[in-house]
Point group: C2
Chain length 230, copies 2
DNA sequence: GCAAAAGTGTTAACTTTACACCCATGT
DNA sequence: ACATGGGTGTAAAGTTAACACTTTTGC
C-alpha cells in the first residue's frame, strides 16, 4: 500500500452472535470481558482479526477461544464501522451469526480475554460493551426474517424434536400465534421431516412423536424450486 | 490499541455495485482503473477508506469521486476479506450496492484514479480487477432476492413509467416470464402506483399510460403489515 | 379421575393461474 | 391497411384460515 498508515490503516475485529433455544426461549451467547475497554461488562464473543487470517476462519477461531465452541456454521451478518464505536480507537467489526443446539456444547473459554461465557435470554440482555446491543438487534432481525422462509428452526432444537416444540420455537421467536392443526399440516406437507418410531420421555402427559429434519431431502426439494415459507 | 500494528492492522476499502436499467437491460457501473494493481482493468468504483470516516459516508464519497454520482442511497452488501484478494497486501473490502436511474446522472470521475466510468450490461461484464466479479454476483443475488418481495423496481426506472416497462424490468432481471394481465392486476392491487394523466410520447404504436410509485403510500401500507411480493 | 399436552378434518374465503381478443396509434 | 404494443375479465385450481373435540399418559 502506498498510503501513509495513519490515514488508511484500521483495526478489524469480528463479533459473533450465537443463538440458542432452551427452556422455551431464545438465548444469545455472551462473555464477560476480562480486558481493557468495558472490563467486566458483558459482550459478544469477539476479538481482533489477524492480518493473515481469512474472515470466516477468524470468526471460528475467535468463537472457539472465547467460548470453547467449534463447528458453529457461522454466517456473515453485517459490518459495523462507526468511527466512535470503540473507545480506544477505530475498530471496524464484521459481525457473524449462527444458530446452534445449546445442549450439544459445553462453554469454556480458552483464553483469559473472557472471564466466562453464558447463555442469556434475548429478553434479558443487559447493556453490552461497545455497540453490541445494536449488533444483537441486527442479528435478531435477520434471524426472524430468515426463519419465515428457510427451514432453519431445526438448527436450534435437538436432533429429535416434537412438532409442538417446533411450533413453540416459531411462536416465541417470531412473537406470533400459530394454529396447531394448520402448522402441522403445513410443515409436514413440505416432506422434509421424518417421523421417528420414538416418543418423548419423562413428560407427565401424553408423549409426543419425535421427528428429525432431513437436510438432504430439503436440499433436493430446494433445488427443484420448492420454497419453504413459515 | 495495544497490539503490534503488523499483527492486527489491516487496510480496508469500499467497493460500490451500482445497478441501472436502460434499453431493456440491467447494467453495472464500472470504472477503468488508472492506478497500480490491475491498471487498465475494469473494476467496481471502490477505494480505500479513511480511518476517520464512517463506512456509509465513505461509500458515498468514493462513489462520487470515481463517477460523479451523488445521493445514490447505498446499502451495505457484504464484506470480503480473503487474504489474497488484493495483490499488494491485505485489504478487506466492504461492498455497498444501490439502484439508480441511469438517465438522472452524468458520469464524470472527479479524481484521476478512474480513467473513465461506464455502464456495462450485466451480461457483458468482462473479467474485473480483484475479486470484483464475485462481488457483482453477490450483489445480483441480493438484487434478485429483494426485487421479489420489496417494491424496488421503480428505483431503476424513470419517475414516470408504463406497466409494460415495469414488467419488462422484472422479466429481464429475474429471467422469468410473467402473464401480462395477472401482473397488472397484482401490481395495481397493492395500491401504491398512481396513474398519471399522461401517456408515452414518441412511440410508433398506441401510447401507454404512465404511472409513478407513491413511496409515502407504500410506507404507510408497509407499516400496516401489507407485504409486497413479486 | 383429572390435569396436561398430543393428535386429528372439514369448510369457507381467498389467492393464484391460465387463457385470447379488441384497441389505439404511427407508418 | 398493417404492424406494434396497449389494454382488458373470467373461471378453475390451489392455498390459507378458522375452528373443537378426542386421545394418551402420569400423577
Amino acid at each position: 500500500m502506498k498510503h501513509k498508515p495513519t490515514d488508511y490503516d484500521n483495526t478489524f475485529s469480528i463479533d459473533n452472535v450465537i443463538f440458542g433455544f432452551d427452556e422455551g426461549s431464545l438465548k444469545v451467547l455472551l462473555i464477560e470481558r476480562a480486558e481493557e475497554a468495558f472490563i467486566g461488562k458483558m459482550a459478544l464473543p469477539g476479538n481482533l482479526v489477524r492480518h493473515d487470517e481469512n474472515l470466516d476462519l477468524g470468526a471460528s477461531r475467535i468463537l472457539y477461544e472465547l467460548t470453547g465452541l467449534k463447528d458453529a456454521h457461522l454466517e456473515q451478518l453485517y459490518t459495523f464501522g462507526d468511527i466512535n464505536r470503540h473507545p480506544l480507537g477505530r475498530v471496524i467489526t464484521v459481525a457473524y451469526y449462527s444458530l446452534i443446539r445449546i445442549k450439544k456444547y459445553k462453554l469454556q473459554p480458552k483464553i483469559s480475554f473472557a472471564k466466562r461465557a453464558a447463555w442469556i435470554p434475548v429478553a434479558e440482555i443487559p447493556q453490552l460493551a461497545f455497540d453490541h446491543n445494536v449488533i444483537v438487534e441486527k442479528a435478531l432481525d435477520r434471524l426472524r426474517g430468515k426463519l419465515r422462509y428457510k427451514p432453519i428452526g431445526f438448527e436450534l432444537l435437538s436432533e429429535k424434536f416434537s412438532l409442538s416444540q417446533l411450533q413453540d420455537l416459531y411462536e416465541s421467536i417470531l412473537l406470533i400465534a400459530i394454529d396447531k392443526r394448520n402448522f402441522r399440516k403445513k410443515i409436514l406437507s413440505y416432506d422434509f421431516l421424518i417421523a421417528l418410531n420414538e416418543k418423548q420421555k419423562d413428560v407427565s402427559h401424553r408423549a409426543a412423536k419425535l421427528y428429525r429434519f432431513d437436510k438432504k431431502r430439503y436440499e433436493l426439494l430446494d433445488k427443484k424450486g420448492i420454497n419453504f415459507e413459515l
